[in-house]
């Protein structure tokens, strides 16, 4: 059976459902690149214990994180279900243009999806594009957090979110137009984590990973 080596991992999920030794699975496992990645995906799914890893503590921590992060990261639901009054069509004689264009676009998408590999490949690459800010430094000295991060080309300004141990936002520092910020901390606030957000007209366009504040002060 021939194998075309793939640069992404499309189709690995379906292969994993086949029994070990299945010819379709074996042909992929035999390729150095695909085989290495497929076996890695398989190991990820198995999630076997690793010496030194504390999965119970990790699950407690991540449950709290996901709970808090879902509220921040998922889009806000529509508050109002009221619909705007229908706009009057300015050129009634062109009313047919919109449905025809929609049909043409749908047909074009259908044709594109019929191309070999077009159906699955982009899916496993899509997340690469998610905007994020790289934190270069998080330092704590004399009760002051010193943060530095990589600039985001389109950002107008940045703010720093200060979070407690359950990842709830206590307050925000900033906004600033620079890529560095010093924040005074009051120990009574209980700040444990911080996160930089990039803003355009007040809207978030990118965020940094959430970082634990250093437990000990830098000298």
């Amino acid at each position: 059976m021939s194998h075309t080596c793939r640069e992404d991992m499309s189709g690995f999920d379906q292969l994993l459902k086949l029994p070990p030794g299945h010819p379709n699975r074996k042909v992929v496992e035999d390729c150095p690149r695909c085989g290495a990645r497929f076996l890695a995906y398989r190991k990820f799914m198995l999630a076997d214990d690793l010496s030194g890893a504390d999965t119970k503590a990790a699950q407690r921590h991540l449950s709290a994180f996901i709970e808090a992060e879902a509220a921040r990261s998922l889009p806000q639901p529509n508050v109002s279900k009221q619909t705007a009054p229908r706009a009057r069509f300015a050129f009634p004689q062109l009313r047919w243009v919109v449905p025809v264009a929609a049909v043409l676009v749908a047909v074009a998408i259908g044709v594109w999806r019929m191309q070999p590999g077009a159906d699955r490949a982009p899916e496993v690459r899509a997340v690469e594009d998610a905007a994020s800010i790289e934190l270069l430094q998080v330092q704590l000295m004399n009760g002051v957090v010193d943060l530095t991060w990589e600039p985001v080309p389109t950002a107008e300004e940045y703010a720093v979110r200060l979070l407690d141990q359950s990842f709830a936002e206590i307050r925000r520092a900033g906004p600033v137009a620079t890529t560095t910020l010093r924040v005074d901390l009051d120990p009574a606030e209980g700040v444990r984590y911080c996160q930089v957000v990039a803003l355009v007209s007040g809207d978030e366009i990118a965020v940094s990973p959430i970082r634990r504040l250093p437990a000990t002060e830098s000298r």
């Binding site: 080596c5 640069e7 992404d8 991992m9 189709g11 999920d13 994993l16 459902k17 035999d30 150095p32 690149r33 085989g35 290495a36 990645r37 076996l39 890695a40 398989r42 990820f44 799914m45 198995l46 999630a47 076997d48 214990d49 690793l50 030194g52 890893a53 504390d54 999965t55 503590a57 990790a58 699950q59 991540l62 449950s63 994180f65 996901i66 709970e67 992060e69 879902a70 509220a71 921040r72 990261s73 998922l74 889009p75 806000q76 639901p77 159906d119 699955r120 982009p122 899916e123 496993v124 690459r125 899509a126 997340v127 690469e128 998610a130 965020v207 990973p209 959430i210 970082r211 634990r212």
Partner: protein
């Protein structure tokens, strides 16, 4: 060999994702997100731990993975299983973290000096270089046995530790992946030297 279907409990991930997309940050949406991601907390954390070998750093990486997943979930169209989509995020995140860290070269099992003889196949030269990747692929295919091929790929391209490679490839020999990588080094060195002699003639 353990069955890979072990963590696949019968549940409708597509329905959970539809709920998340429709409900967003509402109580229903958040509940669906929690339910969707709960079974992946362990695999994501363990995958990150394989790379950094440190609980706190693995948690930081895992947090970042889940944040990216939540922020990108509206772009997930269900053309692959959610698990594979999430694995791509984890893998890329770990790779970029390890690339940023100071590389520690282990002369017994790393290949930079071997591939220095063939700069076009040298994955250390420029990891994003597709041509280098293809050259490396051709070279190891022609020279190494299947386990060695995968071990070299995991070491050079996926920047995995010797311990992680031993575990993933389920290598049972006493020296684990270290022995396999050392053997592969010798074979690749010999093959490249033979090729150079051939070219000189």
């Amino acid at each position: 060999m353990t069955s890979p279907e072990r963590i696949r409990e019968p549940r409708d991930e597509a329905a959970l994702i539809r709920t998340i997309r429709a409900e967003g940050a509402s109580v229903l949406g958040r509940r669906a997100a929690n339910e969707l991601l709960l079974p992946y907390q362990r695999p994501v954390y363990l995958w990150c731990y394989r790379y950094v070998n440190n609980h706190e750093q693995a948690l930081d990486l895992a947090q970042d993975v889940f944040m990216r997943a939540l922020r990108s979930i509206s772009s997930f169209e269900g053309r692959s299983d959610f698990s594979l989509w999430l694995f791509v995020i984890v893998r890329n995140r770990c790779l970029s973290a390890i690339r940023r860290a100071d590389p520690v070269v282990d002369a017994e099992v790393d290949f930079d000096d071997v591939f220095a003889a063939d700069e076009h196949a040298n994955p250390g030269r420029q990891l994003e270089d597709d041509e280098a990747e293809e050259r490396l692929l051709a070279l190891i295919r022609d020279t190494l046995d299947p386990i060695e091929q995968k071990a070299v790929w995991m070491r050079c391209m996926d920047r995995m530790s010797v311990e992680a490679i031993t575990e993933i490839l389920e290598i049972e020999e006493r020296s684990g992946a270290r022995g396999v990588l050392q053997r592969a080094r010798r074979k690749l060195k010999a093959a490249l030297e033979a090729r150079d002699r051939e070219e000189e003639r």
